[in-house]
């Protein structure tokens, strides 16, 4: 049930497109693959970049697939902050303009410092979810917002 590499997984419908992946130093694949399945079941088109995905690779996928609704990033191994530290530079260069959603196990250690989440927000992460079940509703809301703004543009 592994996801195919990104290039063979291009959006094939008018559905909302999600770019999904796990951070650069992180090899945890299971949640990633289940999330890809789950989002597809919810009707999203998922470009799953899989594990060990640096910011540049997320940026490339967004660039190559116009209209991406959101970038959904998982990080389990505790390196979220370090792995995302290229995000501000990429954003400054005009990349990754869509919302970035992050979830997983976001810092090292078994006692979590809430400051860790603030640091991630300061890097430019737009949404940090603590529950996977919140992901589809959030994407739905983003999709409604996007549709509304598209409608506004066509008026």
């Amino acid at each position: 049930m592994r996801s195919d590499p990104a290039h063979t997984d291009a959006p094939e419908s008018a559905h909302e497109v999600i770019v999904l992946g796990v951070t650069a130093s992180d090899a945890h694949a299971v949640a990633n693959q289940l999330i890809a399945h789950g989002l597809r079941a919810h009707g999203f088109t998922v470009i799953n970049l899989g594990v060990c995905t640096p910011i540049e690779e997320f940026a490339l996928a967004v660039r190559e697939n116009p209209g991406v609704l959101a970038v959904v990033v998982g990080s389990l191994n505790g390196h979220a902050y370090d792995d995302l530290c290229d995000l501000p530079a990429a954003r400054a260069a005009g990349e990754l303009a869509c919302p970035v959603i992050l979830g997983g196990n976001l810092s090292v250690g078994s006692r979590k410092d809430p400051d860790a989440l603030d640091r991630l927000r300061r890097l430019g992460v737009d949404h940090i979810l603590s529950e996977l079940t919140d992901l589809a509703p959030l994407l739905g809301e983003l999709a409604r917002k996007a549709a509304r703004s598209r409608r506004l543009q066509t008026i």
């Binding site: 650069a24 130093s25 090899a27 945890h28 299971v30 540049e56 370090d82 250690g109 078994s110 006692r111």
Partner: protein, 461 residues
Amino acid sequence: MNRDPHRRTDPHAAPEPEYPSMAETVRFARTRGTPTVRDVLARSAKDAVVAIQPRCGVGGHPEMRQLLRALESGARPDVLTLTIDSHTRLNRFAHAARLAATDPGALNGYPLVAHGWQRGRELVEAVSAPVEIRHGSPDARRLFRVAVAAGATSFEGGGISYNLPYCKDVPLAHSLACWREVDALTGDLRRAGLTLDRELFGTLTGVLTPPSISLAIGVIEAALAAAEGVGCLSISYPQGGNLAQDVAALRAIPLLARRYLPADVEVYPVLHEFMGVFPGRRAHAEQLIFYGALTARLGGAAKLVTKTYQEALGVPDARANIDGMRLAAVANSPLLDFVTVDAEQVEEELHWLLAEVDDLVAPVLGAADPARAVTAAFADGTLDIPFSASRYARGDVLPCRDASGAIRYAVAGALSLSPAAVARHRRALGLADGPHSMRTLVDRVTRDINHFLHLFKEIEP
């Protein structure tokens, strides 16, 4: 933009340092007056007492030293570990070095390459238990040199098991070639007088790993290592949670070794305590930890690699790690001699397991160039793993649990298993009667991944 798909070395990494000579390395390990990992394994096998080893790695050097000493004085493990951080695993040495210097606590393991072999030796000398390096590097050549120079006497990994679960786009041919170098150096060391233990990572992606895949890959990596002159191999298997199945898998290891490996190679069965989704509540985690340790004992494992009650939360602290080891050690008690496992069930599992491993292994090990055969087998799916992180395995296999909790193939993909074996699996799952929707299967897999959360009622069905 760096699109090198192998990304195996870091352009900014520091030049390699001078290493001690092989003779010096051998002298260091042999004259310390403490056992090597292989000595510990041999003693465990002889006494039929499972050796105990924690996972442990933190970023800072003084912190790592302190951690090892705390674990040693708190639980007297038989083997100690340097668990390596994931930057170093992926040869992102400059990242690891930067964090080691600026924010070592942010690393999820010990960046041995960044700290260097001299510091590694300080760690080895700080404790009396021998040290293994546990990591997950598809290309571990540099890490291996540092590890050996530091005085570690066991090194985990293999060209398959440290590739497919640990990276996305390193070709198997490349990782196999890198590990061949590691194994050849291990052979050189052996001839120079130091027998390192090489542990193969049968855990793979840890989640619902089918026993026959775990063992097949272990046997293949073992055969490749033995061919390079490695003399001491630990074949590890991850606790799946069904006792008879797990005991059968552990007991299969010496049988498979006899069948596929040269007689002069020592082979030790190792159990990794449950490697999937761990219960979050301490009392539940402790039950699973103990169950794992009892599984190791009943299966005849020479060594057990432990978990902690903080597993579901994050990298554990020293206290939790000590408690996990102490708890596991209780399962070694002579007072539990009376505890046995259903012999018939084990026999039945063992019978099928050996046949399946044969089916998976024979084509590869029978080939003229087994390493090349491995690459081809993963390309066409005759070998495969579930939840592969890498594009170099198809990941078509889908495991589920049967009513007894045993792990079975719901989808066996193109695996070279006999139709009878596949039918048995699907029958056990109640899937004998033809195809099922992927949606249903994924729901079922998800449930089975969370098996212990359900068993302990930590989540709703």
